[in-house]
Amino acid sequence: MLIEMRDIERVYHLGRSEDVHALRGVSFGVERGEWVAIVGQSGSGKSTLMNIVGCLDTPTAGHYLLNGRDVAQLSDDDLSDIRNREIGFVFQTFQLLPRESALNNVELPLVYRGVKARERRQRAKAALRQVGLGDRMRHLPTELSGGQRQRVAVARALVSEPSLLLADEPTGNLDSATGEEIMRLFEQLHRQGHTLCLVTHEPRLAARCPRAIRLRDGCIVADGPGREVAFADLPDAARAAAPVTAPQDNAPRSAATRCP
């Protein structure tokens, strides 16, 4: 088992009494080579979960075993090294360094791995070509469109050939054609044996993943084949869109601190 989550909770303390229970007891496992979509409404805790999986954040309670090792036992330097070597992260908000060129951005994980400059450059260029940005390498993020930035972020996550790729809405800003390219890239990586976690709003994309997990208010409400989980919630979503019940979305969150 690559990822093993046991009763993971994440509480954000805001001020004196206000606690936000972003995750309220999440348990699941991911085998090496799996491709899991994580779906759920906005604010359901998807990004929070991804941060914990990616060793960026630590749970308030529960155990997270990565590759059999309890992450809570690892030192800060160990976590840095795991993020660098094992994990590729595509952030929901890209998180490119604004003052560095696309190429330098993509090179960054390799810099921290200590890869020699020449090899670094070659691998970064290859990764950028892979996402169709072979002609934009010297551009600064501000000189790129939203979709192009997202692709730079994808290239940066791929360049270190991580065993675990975490992508938070990697196609959110892309037109369907480019989004499709990224999806094909993921399919290819999946076939090559990489483990992928993909957060998405689009049921259509989640349906293409072999497995999907649905979060609601910090709890897993469905875990199964992508095709089934992706569309199961549609009535829910339709309900959420209706003004009458919309406030209810927030109501139970503060009430219960644990999943039912």
Partner: protein, 409 residues
């Protein structure tokens, strides 16, 4: 990840951010620059003083003992006591000549100020020195052309004179001074020689002296003046023994009873050097104080700008940490940036400081010299300040939580 990689990447980022925030960098470095400039300027002047003092001191003859009623460095208000001491006589000089085993040359020195003229040219505030044949050895003066004053000149009270380089310049711009007759305080003297230029010492020209025979001086300018006796010692290592011997000889010659204290002083250039060193130590103190405070202020400027930089780049720090940068990597990055800012300030300060020292040297009589180690010191020291004041901001950057940093707006 190795420290080498940390340093390399850190240096690259530091240069990049210096380039991106040019104006801000410049303003920040101003504080440290001013500190370094002040330090270098004062140090340059002190070093210049040292250099000229050293040459002057050696010209004074480090191996000469000067026997006088007065000590060179008078402390307190004992001046009248010294003044009322008995004057030396030529018998004392003779006694030293005959009895000292260490003395290589002995000469009395008597002096006064006066003006000199030749035709319609003139020079005032000239120092007129009366002495004998050994005077050159004792005083460190050298003959440029012609000859020196001899014992015979003194014996026969000849009206001959050896003149300093400034007098040659002023009185004889176009002609040969040798053989010319000049007027010293309205008495005619024939120029028989000229002296090698000595230059300035603490802003005073050392070349406005004229030397005339000792007895001529006494006859022409008064008997009642006291004089000093210069005793050149051959071997500088034996200066202490020579001094002891000298004291004995003079006490006997002056008839000082054995139990009485000596009523004269034996001076040497070392004493001047000591006083001088006390003076420059105070100057160094001021330089270090002023420079230190400015550097401190500059250091806080750097700390401030680094804290701003850390705040501004919180997201960047989050990204770097997310991609595998360790805390140490972040620390190294911001430390290097602080050092780079400080070093730029140090370099600017060094240039300004050197220019300032040069300027001081050219518009005031003070000499200013800067040796290369001072420049290294300027840049090195400011880098150190940057390092010290960068620690806290860098530590804060490293302590940031990655997720929180990534959410920073």
């Amino acid at each position: 990840m190795s420290l080498r990689v940390d340093l390399y990447e850190g240096a690259r980022i530091a240069v990049l951010s210096l380039g991106l925030n040019r104006l801000r960098t410049l303003l920040t470095t101003l504080g440290i620059g001013i500190g370094v400039a002040t330090l270098l300027c004062i140090l340059g002047i002190v070093q210049g003083l040292n250099a000229s003092f050293a040459t002057q001191l050696s010209a004074l003859g480090s191996s000469t003992l000067w026997v006088s009623k007065f000590p060179w460095v008078i402390t307190g208000d004992k001046w009248w006591i010294y003044r009322n001491r008995k004057d030396f006589t030529l018998d004392d000089v003779q006694a030293i000549r005959e009895q000292s085993r260490f003395a290589a040359a002995v000469a009395p020195e008597i002096g006064r100020g006066g003006s000199v003229s030749y035709g319609d040219r003139g020079l005032s505030r000239v120092r007129i020195i009366g002495s004998t044949g050994d005077y050159l050895t004792v005083s460190g003066f050298e003959i440029q052309s012609g000859r020196a004053i001899t014992d015979a000149d003194s014996e026969y009270r000849k009206n001959v004179v050896v003149i300093g380089a400034d007098l040659v310049d002023t009185l004889f711009p176009h002609s040969d001074p040798i053989g010319a007759v000049i007027r010293l305080r309205d008495l005619p003297f024939e120029v028989v020689g000229t002296l090698v230029r000595r230059g300035k010492f603490l802003g005073e020209s050392q070349d406005t002296s004229v030397i005339i025979p000792f007895r001529t001086f006494i006859a022409d300018y008064g008997k009642r003046r006291g004089f000093e006796i210069g005793v050149a010692v051959e071997n500088t290592d034996l200066l202490n023994q020579a001094e002891d011997e000298l004291i004995g000889i003079i006490r006997r010659s002056r008839g000082t009873p054995p139990e009485a204290e000596s009523d004269f002083e034996v001076n040497r250039s070392e004493q001047l050097a000591k006083t001088y060193q006390q003076l420059t130590a105070a100057l160094y103190g001021v330089a270090i104080g002023v420079g230190g405070i400015t550097l401190l202020v500059g250091g806080f400027g750097i700390m401030n700008i680094m804290l701003v930089s850390v705040r501004e780049r919180t997201r960047e720090i989050g990204v770097r940490r997310a991609l595998g940068a360790r805390r140490r990597t972040v620390i190294v990055q911001f430390l290097l940036e602080a050092v780079a800012v400080a070093a730029v300030g140090g370099a600017i300060g060094t240039i300004v400081g050197l220019a300032g020292a040069k300027l001081v040297a050219s518009i005031t009589p003070l000499a200013a010299a800067v040796d290369p180690s001072t420049v290294l010191f300027g840049v090195g020291f400011s880098s150190l300040v940057g390092l010290l004041f960068g620690i806290w901001p860098a530590a804060r950057a490293a302590a940031l939580d990655p997720v929180e940093s990534l959410r920073w707006e």
